[in-house]
Symmetry: D2
Subunit: 256 residues, 4 copies
Amino acid sequence: MKTRVTVWNEYRHEKLHEEIRKVYPQGIHAVLKEFLSKENDFTVRTATLDDPEHGLTEAVLAETDVLLWWGHMAHLEVSDAVVERVYQRVLDGMGLIVLHSGHASKIFKKLCGSNSQQLKWRELGEKERIWVIEPTHPIADGLPEFIEIPQEEMYGEVFGIPTPETLLFISWFEGGEVFRSGCCYTRGLGKVFYFRPGHEAFPVYRQSDIQRVIVNAVRWAKPANGPKPTKGNYPPLEPIGDGRTSLHPELHKNKA
Amino acid sequence: MKTRVTVWNEYRHEKLHEEIRKVYPQGIHAVLKEFLSKENDFTVRTATLDDPEHGLTEAVLAETDVLLWWGHMAHLEVSDAVVERVYQRVLDGMGLIVLHSGHASKIFKKLCGSNSQQLKWRELGEKERIWVIEPTHPIADGLPEFIEIPQEEMYGEVFGIPTPETLLFISWFEGGEVFRSGCCYTRGLGKVFYFRPGHEAFPVYRQSDIQRVIVNAVRWAKPANGPKPTKGNYPPLEPIGDGRTSLHPELHKNKA
Amino acid sequence: MKTRVTVWNEYRHEKLHEEIRKVYPQGIHAVLKEFLSKENDFTVRTATLDDPEHGLTEAVLAETDVLLWWGHMAHLEVSDAVVERVYQRVLDGMGLIVLHSGHASKIFKKLCGSNSQQLKWRELGEKERIWVIEPTHPIADGLPEFIEIPQEEMYGEVFGIPTPETLLFISWFEGGEVFRSGCCYTRGLGKVFYFRPGHEAFPVYRQSDIQRVIVNAVRWAKPANGPKPTKGNYPPLEPIGDGRTSLHPELHKNKA
Amino acid sequence: MKTRVTVWNEYRHEKLHEEIRKVYPQGIHAVLKEFLSKENDFTVRTATLDDPEHGLTEAVLAETDVLLWWGHMAHLEVSDAVVERVYQRVLDGMGLIVLHSGHASKIFKKLCGSNSQQLKWRELGEKERIWVIEPTHPIADGLPEFIEIPQEEMYGEVFGIPTPETLLFISWFEGGEVFRSGCCYTRGLGKVFYFRPGHEAFPVYRQSDIQRVIVNAVRWAKPANGPKPTKGNYPPLEPIGDGRTSLHPELHKNKA
């Protein structure tokens, strides 16, 4: 069965700013969809902020194995209801790939449990070099030792994320900073990958190595086929000492 | 300077249920305060759900280095405003120690970024044995190899938490389950420790080794004296190639 | 291309002790080979301690993607040269799956960098229940919430391993102990998985869920296709301030 | 009780090369000892390669709480017996702080269990900037956001270490590389900290922030007062089903 990918893009810069439209004439999501669609094991659709329910209806999410998220200038316009919906789907197993300024999105902050919005930034179009520090990870498949981006926005530490379960990439910036640019998390049954590059003003998502990372991340993040954990009141698997029963069951009726 | 500890207790079971009142006549918080107050480097106060603002006013939190949290039957009565206030204080450096059924509190779920409410449970008053698996951690100071609790509520895996940064304790239960019972996290500048034991129906917080864990955890969780990370638009530390300036500064006025 | 698996077994208990021979008449390696060979993407061979060079010649290792290791009573008979050879192959990318009492093997201790030999044990044939605590990991694919083994040797904490990069399984034992039974590591370009069960006196490797874990672990541990890190004296990628050259190159000729 | 620190220095460059002697006239160990001795809670001694038993006799190690290790050009001259002795002391609880080119020492490689010798290097005396990414860790106490070193040897990724339990520092280098410069590990009961800076040709250990890191690391690495794990044949804490006894005790006489 194919992995069903939904590319979500805020899609505002491209409509509002001519210089951005030159870089991504049909929107960032169009470029992401284009290269993802070349993979035989993926089916890809897109959704944007201005679609009804931001394009992320229950039906769409139910048919999504991995969701990509690009947002920047309109994080606060994303409805809490949709954020909650995406959140529950991640906990239930959907993969989520958060790109670039998606670090400050409601959904990533909610999944981090910390102020992932906090970082340094600078928009001078300087050089970035992304070093791979975990070369055996599936997301590093087929990559060179580093990926060079001629012009990018700088993001600098301290990045207010929880320590990643796996830190894959560290970025070097021309202006003197470093950044944790590839970060893996698990939340419930869902996998989450944060990938730093992709400022709207530069054609970063047209670089083949960047595309490779995103393709690999989709394969890594797709839902697993492991045990579905049960929860709630659970009968003992072994006999309890003296055959006790609950001491005050009336107190715990609604506990889960 | 002394570490300023605030013990927060929901304080409902003890008022509503006579059998619980027998175990903790003045409330769980009173017992926690009592043994914490014996430490010369701590000052301790308490706060409960039914106090104004749940006893967690801006002023109280501003004077709190480490907050303990015990809640169970009334998680949903904790106001979102107070949860947000505690959350910000944790990100700013206050330590938080979440006890037992605090796993399902609003504040712990918010800090986890996942469904920490999910677990198995059973209330038969069975035996628990807490094994120390990281004996060099500060929270294991002075402990034996394991702590035995004669009667406890069972909590069983899968526990819906993010993988702990450090897993200190694993519990064995008489009925056949295991549980990650001592879990360390960092969130922003704050340290968070989840410690499983402490069902209201059993005098668990009167056991000296359990008290030792909580005292150690307060010392571990108190605010650090490290660098305060700066954020936002950051001038380059090194010269950028051709002396470029921002490509479209007007787009980024409110970015943080 | 198929994954080339080599199953290494000490193969002494089965030859020396009739009761063990009843459980594994052709040796533990034969049973491991049998179920692994049913996977279409694997090719499987075996090697044992009493083979020349323990069956682990340079040629065999060069053709091995994943090595399984079962040893117990004769760890010290494994030659240091072969251990070094296996060690280098792991650093170069070969996967290694260490089974049961292989915890005390020379190769696992060398890869751990600590006294992985340290643990508690007891051989009463008691019940073990292996709980899956990371249900989304590839090694948990297709598993139930727990695997029950009717009779096993007990291994108890503290297990003298480095904290696993990923802790997959926690065992519950009838006699009152817990154990970290599924532990993932990366060493150089190689992946290492320790899997606890498999005492020679019980037919543990005939249980389908145990087989499933081992099959999954082979797929997880096979060599990755990531960047091959370079090392040694490295020319600058960016101009250094004043065009400096080495201050005392003669001191560093042999450094790597 | 004071923390007993032993500073071990290879002490060859300073004797052999006049330019190095200008930087550290009495040896690197003398400078390390000098600033460590200013801490009221430390007592400090030194030892060097050319002392009998490299100055690390059983008696000296028995009186050492934390050992610092600086070596570079003569790693292979360190006797295996002394390495084994240090290794056992670390597993028993002694802290170890490995400085700069100590990454390639026998002792660090043995404790890593991997090829920590592997990295890129370049000796042009370029600028290094060490960013603190875990500001709440005890080793970051009192530090600024970054430490700048005007001239240093470059070390670049991939560094062949196991993923650190805690990654504290990431270095930026003028020539375009990054490096994991502050790495925490636990091995047995001992804590290990790798700290990158300190090439012999530059007065790095005279910088106050670098000194602060090392002082903090000594406090962090000193032996803990946790449980001493027991091992070996362990009687059951709970009754086993049918009162079984060992199935073949004769096979397990020497097992530990």
